[in-house]
Subunit: 252 residues, 2 copies
């Protein structure tokens, strides 16, 4: 075609390019700035060129979701399948990485929780690894999916909690009287957290999950869930460990 002759090769649109461009926008500007038009501009094509590959904003988010899921660290799962790590240790490491990645991409939680995985190859690959580790751990076939869903539900909620403000449970004076048991529990928790200096800090948890991940991913949040610093609730770690241990208590 005459018209396309002079176009640079980089203007060719692929789903991979769309995904990379979208992740770049999200990393630098946040999810609220992710639009089809901005992605097209980033790639250097007109918006209409995207629609052969992505059907709209929801499809774009599903594409980004699978790319983000690919950032979850599955090395521990592979180590367990190779016999180098216990299934329980592998699942704990995987779950923590899963939480850390989605804490950086909290606006995707709704998307991942409700989007069919049929078009998400990285997500499928991760689930396959988790399923195989659960089989190795002796989990009955029919309980594997419920176990994964229960873990994920906890991980998704915990991804939000990683962005809760440190003062979320602070009470006004009057409520410290009416809600005295809760206020006492809160004071005990805050005191306990202050002395637990050996616990992994939320800042470490929210650092980019691999050397390949650009530091700017830390600004990938949006809306009430995260500020440009990617969150950082200093009280999120203890509840996450407590819940994860309970959910995996029967798997060594």
């Amino acid at each position: 075609m005459e018209r396309s002759k002079g176009r640079p090769t980089k203007a060719l649109v692929t789903r991979e390019k769309i995904s990379s461009a979208a992740l770049k926008i999200v990393g630098v500007q946040g999810y609220e700035k992710l639009t089809m038009a901005r992605v097209a501009r980033e790639i250097g094509v007109g918006p209409s060129a995207l629609y052969n590959h992505v059907h709209g904003k929801d499809d774009l988010l599903a594409l980004v979701q699978d790319a983000v899921m690919a950032q979850v660290d599955t090395a521990a799962l592979r180590a367990a399948l190779a016999g180098d790590l216990s299934p329980g240790a592998a699942l704990r490491t995987w779950a923590r990485s899963y939480r850390d990645v989605f804490a950086l991409h909290a606006p995707l939680v709704e998307v991942i929780a409700t989007t069919p995985i049929s078009g998400a190859p990285a997500t499928q690959e991760m689930y396959e690894l988790v399923a195989r580790v659960l089989v190795a751990a002796g989990e009955p076939q029919a309980r594997i999916i419920p176990r994964i869903i229960a873990l994920e539900s906890f991980i998704y909620g915990s991804s939000y909690d990683a962005h809760a403000p440190a003062n979320i449970f602070d009470l006004p004076d009057i409520a410290r009287v009416t809600a005295h048991s809760f206020a006492a529990a809160h004071a005990a928790f805050v005191a306990d957290s202050a002395v637990s200096a050996d616990a992994p800090s939320i800042d470490a948890a929210l650092a980019p999950v691999s050397a390949d991940a650009p530091a700017s991913l830390a600004s990938a949040g949006s809306g009430p869930v995260s500020g440009p610093d990617g969150g950082g609730n200093p009280f999120a770690d203890t509840p996450f460990r407590l819940g994860l241990e309970a959910l995996l208590a029967d798997i060594d």
Copy 2:
């Protein structure tokens, strides 16, 4: 004041009126239609009249959140404190109600997970009851808040899962080969769910939680999380029960 002399009493704005009007809009039209302008119109005042009571959309959502939290059934918690029910049974009943209520109000999950409770009296009251039940169960002071956060994180993620499409884990033919362990687990789960006709249905779980709640609340969802029917993932119940039992395994 001369100017206000002829105004009808109903035009007086209170936070309670704003909350009721917002819940009505959400129940009939969904969260995507909730705006300050619509709330003002529902009350019969100009938008500027709202701003003496609510600072904007975020504050409006926080107000709605507390009103929705008041719908969570705390009767079992009160029964436990009166000695009529075990703490464990009370917490299970409360957690299920909490999940059911927020499954109907999934767009509020982000709000509740990240909004300080200082201005939310119904939420404070609920937390006080939960804290007192946990004290009665022998939970150490410093573990009460982490326990509540872990439970809530699970409940929030489960509120999303209640809206997952039934086909969320269906795989295309090719992936059924590459992800064969996951596919086998999925088939076993689906088969098992089909025979578990005695499990509480998600439709029952998503019904309004009390006789006072209008049926139209079932349409309170929005966006990818819920359709106008309030969701209804037929596979959500088993994972919820599995996770809840694990998180409360040590409390009778």
